[in-house]
């Protein structure tokens, strides 16, 4: 049985797809058979971030409508044999996602995979609801910014009330916080909320802090999940995220400013 993980946030542009691709790749690299699904029907992007956009033949909606089977639609990653991508349809709309159909696909994936990562669309409409409905775990991607935190809290309410686990009174979804686009210097200056501030408000288990990093754009430009860029701070942060998700206890990195010496402070920048 696979563990189903939803990457969600409410707010758009906070790093859901970046996180989905990094987590899926990270899990696969550690030997777990992993499928990553793009739930953003109509605005498919995961294939671009994963670098497999030219290999899309069939998509999630084709599978739901029995126009293709899963084996035909799943794209095998070229860098890691344990990783498969199920792209969203670009031409249909989100109403193509029916709860029963999605459930069937989840069940089938559960049989062949260890982890199923669901990349949720932004918002709290149907697509986002479908992405989180069958989840066992939820990673709430949040930026240290007022509207993102509020939306994350809203999403927590939805996970607690509208998911399958909530409806069947099963063990609740395990919820984790992933704080992204974090800028320790701005935090130190007092114009960005700190990890502690956000945690105090959301009270979630912190899975990791991903610093604001130019490497993220470079990686998505190239279609490479950021976790493969082992030199970059964001890539390393995502490696830690994967390890923590799998149960390792690691200290959080990238939350302190790199200490500047006196000379640097006087003449730097």
């Amino acid at each position: 049985m696979a563990r189903i993980i939803v990457i969600t946030s409410g707010k758009g542009g906070v790093g859901k797809t970046t996180t989905s691709s990094a987590l899926a790749m990270g899990l696969a690299l550690r030997g777990h058979r992993t499928a990553v699904i793009d739930f953003d029907v109509g605005l498919r992007n995961l294939d671009l971030v994963m670098g497999c956009e030219r290999r899309v033949v069939y998509d999630f909606v084709n599978v739901l409508n029995s126009e293709a089977n899963l084996t035909q639609a799943l794209i095998k990653d070229k860098r890691c044999e344990n990783l498969f991508i199920l792209p969203a349809s670009q031409t249909r709309d989100k109403s193509s996602l029916k709860r029963e159909g999605v459930g069937r696909v989840m069940e089938e994936l559960s049989r062949g995979f260890d982890y199923v990562v669901c990349d949720s669309p932004a918002g709290i409409e149907h697509g986002a609801m479908m992405a989180m409905y069958y989840a066992d775990d939820a990673i709430i991607v949040t930026n240290p910014e007022i509207s993102s935190v509020r939306d994350s809290d809203r999403m927590l309410g939805i996970l607690a009330g509208k998911s399958r686990r909530a409806e069947t009174a099963a063990t609740p979804i395990r919820e984790y916080l992933l704080l992204s686009r974090y800028d320790p210097e701005r935090v130190q200056r007092g114009d960005m909320m700190s990890v502690d501030d956000v945690q105090e408000i959301l009270s979630l288990e912190l899975l990791g802090v991903v610093p604001e990093s130019k490497a993220v754009l470079t990686a998505s430009n190239a279609g490479t999940p950021i976790i493969l860029d082992k030199e970059s701070d964001a890539g390393q942060a995502y490696s830690d995220v994967v390890k923590r998700y799998l149960g390792e206890r690691l200290p959080h990195r990238f939350i302190e400013t790199t200490k500047k010496g006196l000379l640097n402070r006087l003449f730097g920048e």
Binding site: I146, R150, R189, D191, D197
Partner: protein, 97 residues
């Protein structure tokens, strides 16, 4: 920027320090409010209307005369009904909890 300004800018930073604090405070209020709203039982409005029907059998009050507040802490839920009777000859304020 002169050398002195560089030292000075450190002190003025202390005053600027605050937009994150403001954000956090605003969020704490917002989130508490959102959560309270979310945790309200869905039947509250219907309950209010039903109580009004019962009360109206005896006293003519309007919907605004009934206040229903709902609070929840870790150990208990408190549903408070406050009915203000109209100001007639032998008027009295009646609280029901």
């Amino acid at each position: 920027m002169g050398l002195l300004d560089r030292f000075r800018s450190n002190t003025s930073n202390q005053q600027v320090r605050g937009s994150a604090v403001v954000a956090k405070e605003r969020l704490q209020i917002l989130v508490a409010h959102d959560r309270a709203e979310r945790n309200r039982p869905p039947y509250l409005n219907q309950l209010k209307e039903d109580i009004l029907i019962v009360v109206r059998k005896y006293v003519n009050v309007d919907l605004n005369a009934i206040q229903v507040t709902y609070e929840q802490d870790e150990r208990r839920e408190i549903l408070e009904l406050n009915i203000t009777f109209p100001d007639t000859s032998h008027s009295h304020n009646h609280d029901a909890k």
